[in-house]
Subunit: 202 residues, 2 copies
DNA sequence: TGATTTATGTATCGAACGATATAGAAAGGA
DNA sequence: TCCTTTCTATATCGTTCGATACATAAATCA
């Protein structure tokens, strides 16, 4: 099963990366196949042969985004010694990532598709599931804090996770509206100002 | 200058209201003229004659949204006696409005258009300006609190306003993802848990 | 009543959409 | 060398997009 036939004339990973940037910047629906073929510098048949269709290409681009960009943010959760530090780092990394000067602002997962019939547009459900997964990651880190004795068992970890996930979602919109890195960092700090109250016994 | 010609066969306000609901639910770009004419129960020529084009119809729908839905939320700011109560009410009203069972979830201003070239899509800039206006309303209420002696002058009102505006933006996404009213209220409470720290002297 | 004005319903416009058919080009296998 | 396989480039498919031309209907004005 060696590679028969004419070899591919483009770098598949590089093309996928370019597609990711376009989807990230414009969202799923606002991105046309013409936008993609122009950015990826390949013809439409090559795109379809390599990635299936627009929806599958988006799914692949999302996977790349999670592995490459999302990792910068979510790796902070397990690294930090305490849940508190984990959340502070998580928000700080979010601010840095969302205001990165050489990339689309905000988060592809939060901004990719918000509207649309969940069933009609598969990308919509894909992103929604990703957001819910992220919220679960936050909850699990809090539950770890409970097991570590850092957080009292009486607190509702899901509620706290939902709050911080909501703040992160909002930061995507605020970043798209032009907020500075300092402003986003300030918002991250403000969210952490609620930590002590949120993690005090109920 | 009396009304000459054949009278309009539809209620313009009711049609605009239906258009608002469609834009609110699907966003600007995902809403087609076919969606609009179906929801408004009028022909395309009647739509164009009455509202100009899609962009102008969206602008009119947004105006209706602000006057009708936004008022429920933003009226809380001047009504409350203190800045703290104003922000608590503002967030509480946001939770209620975003989880209303008989309406699209979340906020039309936050979800209408997030992506897209600001210049190419006028609706994008329109919504961005609306979000920045709302942030300014929050800042002004905080500044009023400073004048009232409720908040120390050393705090950065814009930073606090940005934080709460960001939370509200995030609540739109969280609401679209299916969060319950109780969950949104919990997030609103969590945001208020930061109030004392945020408004303490710097 | 006839002329004018405005709204409606049908049918359709050119452009852009996502997706392909087709033919030719570039590789390995025999 | 010839065949098979795979990829590329051009041209285009049918559909949907936002937006209109056109003829007709329903009102006021003279």
């Amino acid at each position: 099963m060696s590679q028969r036939g004419r070899p591919r004339a483009f770098d598949s990973d590089a093309a996928l990366r370019r597609a990711m940037l376009v989807f990230w910047e414009k969202g799923y629906e606002a991105t046309s196949m013409a936008d993609l073929t122009a950015a990826m510098q390949i013809g439409a048949p090559s795109l379809y042969a390599a990635f299936g269709n627009k929806a599958e290409l988006f799914a692949a681009a999302l996977k790349t985004y999670k592995a490459e960009i999302g990792m910068e943010i979510w790796d902070a959760l397990p690294k930090a010694a305490t849940a508190r530090q984990a959340f502070a780092d998580f928000l700080a990394e979010t601010a840095i990532a969302y205001a990165h000067p050489d990339r689309p602002r905000g988060c592809m997962i939060a901004l990719g598709v918000l509207n649309g019939d969940t069933e009609a547009i598969p990308a919509c459900e894909l992103l929604r599931d990703s957001r819910l997964e992220n919220s679960s990651l936050l909850r699990e880190r809090l539950e770890q804090g409970v097991r570590d004795g850092e957080i009292p068992p009486s607190v509702d970890c899901q509620q706290i996770a939902d709050f911080y996930a909501t703040v992160q979602h909002g930061m995507s919109i605020t970043a798209r509206d032009g907020a500075t890195l300092a402003s986003l960092q300030s918002t991250a700090d403000a969210a952490m100002a609620a930590w002590d109250t949120l993690t005090s016994p109920r």
